[in-house]
């Protein structure tokens, strides 16, 4: 049984999707238990695989037992790197699954079975992208996750969301096609599609020196950068995530860009190899500069937004810059920081999107005034939001602080001070962004409602002063099914921060046999 775990991660949501798709329209009550059950199986399998990997090294799984891939086969491969990512993806899916219990029904009145089918298929795609060991299968799974993503975004009632989804289809297809083209060139040069085989051929034969491999690399990188919204290829992201249904944005925003970062790192280390990338190609400087620009641009564009959700979307663009830059610093600290940041950023973005979705729904406003006086009305929701925001700013002991900590060390060690400066500046911009909201949430939107001892005394004497204006402490709170996942995500952000030692040490061990990343 234990050998089948890697496949189970994928199969559980796949069959869950079938079941929901068939039985859901007949009886809607089927949906939720199936979704949660399937995702729980995935989560358990992912954790199980990770435990096995940490104990005994990478796990290979050959679908159908075709152990020697002849040209094409379906190989799943789990090592420390994607084991970690798998667990995080599964956690995010489970939390958003719970979050959507009643949300999905409200937002897509007729379509909640369809929503859940797509939701599970998205899980299949994203899990698949993470576990696959084959370059072409990766393309197919990219498209599986993208197609479901397009549909999830277009499901909402906002016309702007639909238009954004169309743009996303166009941009996404261009990105995926570039990736496919790159794989074609790689196949021409190496005759292999299995990642490990390609790696071996590039590393050991003369193929590494050929121009075809270089072209393949450029095409693949361009495709992935489009898909992950790396500035200036980010155009599709803000509107797509800003105007889609809250249940969709809650799962897409934390995961999709992060998974593509993982894919990029996988392609860099597992397909082309760190030596080839950093020694043969050696574009470290250019890419880190691009990442620096992405960080700055994302932060400044976020500063210019008036709608909260779109502001968060631009922050994602900046965070993508963090991770691309970290991965290209060409040392193990930057790489480890980028991988750790995948985990951290997925959780903190989840935290922020859940909180903002709750708040937008509750107040019916998209702009910053939605936050007026919220610390009184919804203290727990705001606490969750605050944890996510502090993580984005980089305040210890949240996960966001520690990822910055490792990325900064990578930047300092490799001498890329422009990247270091951009990281710090973006932290400061995040501080401005979020404290603008905190100020409203603490003190209300109207500065005039302030210090008038007499008036306040008349309204409510010192004996009447309460933490909350309502009669009960949590009277204005969101319901448990939405608040629970938010608080769980917030707790995870802190827990992952406190556990940064074990996590990063596992990641660093993975780089041990890559001397180009620096001696341990």
């Amino acid at each position: 049984m234990a050998e089948q775990l890697p496949a189970l991660i994928l199969l559980a949501p796949l069959f869950g999707a079938l079941l929901v798709g068939l039985a859901g329209p007949r009886d809607r009550r089927v949906c939720f238990p199936v979704v949660l059950g399937a995702l729980a199986v995935s989560l358990c399998s992912a954790v199980g695989v990770l435990v096995r990997v940490l104990a005994g090294g990478p796990v290979d799984y050959f679908v159908g037992g075709w152990s020697e891939p002849l040209g094409i086969g379906i190989q799943l491969r789990v090592d420390t790197l994607n084991g970690l990512v798998l667990v995080v993806i599964a956690v995010v899916f489970v939390l958003v699954g719970v979050f959507s219990i009643r949300r999905a029904g409200e937002e897509n009145t007729e379509k909640s079975p369809q929503y859940y089918t797509l939701f599970l298929l998205l899980a299949v795609g994203v899990f698949g992208m993470t576990v696959t060991g084959d370059a072409f299968n990766l393309y197919v799974l990219v498209e599986v996750s993208s197609l479901t993503g397009y549909a999830l975004i277009a499901m909402g009632s906002s016309p702007r969301g639909t238009v954004a989804a169309f743009n996303y289809v166009v941009m996404g297809t261009i990105g995926a096609s570039f990736y496919l083209l790159g794989v074609g060139y790689l196949y021409m040069a190496t005759g292999a599609l299995n990642m490990a085989q390609i790696h071996e051929i590039v590393a050991t034969t003369g193929a590494g020196g050929s121009r075809t491999v270089l072209v393949a690399f450029i095409l693949i990188l361009a495709g992935l950068w489009t898909k992950m919204a790396f500035f200036p290829l980010h155009g599709w992201l803000p509107n797509a995530y800003g105007y889609c249904p809250s249940t969709s944005s809650s799962v897409l925003a934390p995961l999709v860009t992060k998974v593509y970062i993982y894919v990029m790192i996988r392609v860099m280390l597992g397909v082309f190899g760190a030596e080839w990338i950093f020694e043969h190609v050696g574009w470290t400087n250019i890419v880190v500069w691009l990442a620096t620009v992405a960080i700055l641009a994302g932060s400044l564009l976020a500063l210019a937004q008036t709608e909260v959700r779109k502001m968060l979307c631009y922050l994602i663009v900046a965070e993508v810059g963090y991770m691309v830059g970290g991965a290209w610093l060409a040392n193990r600290w930057g790489m480890a920081g980028a991988v750790y940041h995948i985990v951290a950023d997925a959780l903190m973005t989840l935290c922020l999107f859940l909180a903002v979705n709750i708040i937008v729904k509750r107040t019916g406003r998209l702009r910053m005034d939605a936050f007026d006086g919220l610390f009184r009305k919804m203290p727990l929701t705001m606490a969750g939001f605050a944890v996510g925001a502090l993580a984005m700013i980089g305040i210890p002991p949240t996960a966001g602080f520690f990822s910055k900590w490792y990325l900064l060390r990578g930047g300092i060690e490799s001498g890329h001070f422009e990247y270091v400066a951009a990281l710090l500046l973006s932290s400061l911009v995040n501080a401005v962004l979020f404290f603008r909201l905190f100020e409203r949430a603490f003190f209300g939107g109207n500065p005039a409602g302030g210090h008038h001892p007499d008036r306040t005394a008349a309204e409510s004497g010192p004996t009447q002063q309460g933490w909350v204006g309502d009669s009960t402490l949590l009277g204005g709170e969101a319901r448990a099914s939405t608040l629970g996942p938010l608080l769980a995500a917030a707790a995870l952000v802190v827990a992952v921060g406190l556990l940064n030692g074990p996590i990063v040490s596992a990641i660093l061990r993975y780089f041990e046999n890559m001397p180009v990343l620096g001696a341990p």
């Binding site: 197609l147 277009a154 016309p159 289809v169 297809t173 261009i174 096609s177 083209l181 599609l193």
Partner: protein
């Protein structure tokens, strides 16, 4: 002329796919009508399919279907089949793998097109038009009202 002889003619398949791809890309970016953009997208994807198929070609090779079907019935006779395969000359057949890959890619392309068409239908329902500039204008107007 030299360039034509050394670079273009021997690699004409690449030139064709690149030209097709550029046509598709231009339509996706430059066209105003959403359906025309989608047509561009299809051309773009088809160009890549052509590229893949063309790299499987070998001079003088046949389609990759072995003539002997004898071993189909007795799948258990694995060793025999292996021997038989060894006798086949790889150079006599075009590389089947890119074709197989492209079957998947075609399916993916159709699915993408389907989703995109559904979305454009929904856009038409919301805005009453499929021209991009008109849609943007309507969005602008609605945000000003709101």
């Amino acid at each position: 002329m030299d360039f034509l002889r050394t670079s273009v003619i021997p690699h004409f398949n690449y030139w064709i796919y690149v030209i097709l791809m550029m046509i598709g890309l231009w339509a996706m970016i430059g066209k105003n009508n959403l359906i025309k953009k989608l047509i561009g997208m299809s051309i773009f994807q088809t160009a890549i399919i052509l590229f893949y198929v063309s790299i499987g070609v070998k001079t003088g090779a046949d389609i990759p279907i072995p003539a002997h079907h004898a071993h189909h019935d007795e799948a258990a006779a694995g060793a025999g089949a292996r021997e038989e395969e060894d006798k086949l000359d790889p150079d006599a057949f075009a590389n089947p793998l890119p074709h197989v890959l492209m079957l998947t890619a075609i399916v993916v392309g159709v699915a993408t097109l389907g989703v995109a068409l559904a979305i454009s239908q929904s856009i038409h329902k919301d805005f009453g038009t499929l021209e991009e500039d008109e849609i943007l204008e309507k969005i602008k107007a609605s945000t000003h009202d709101g």
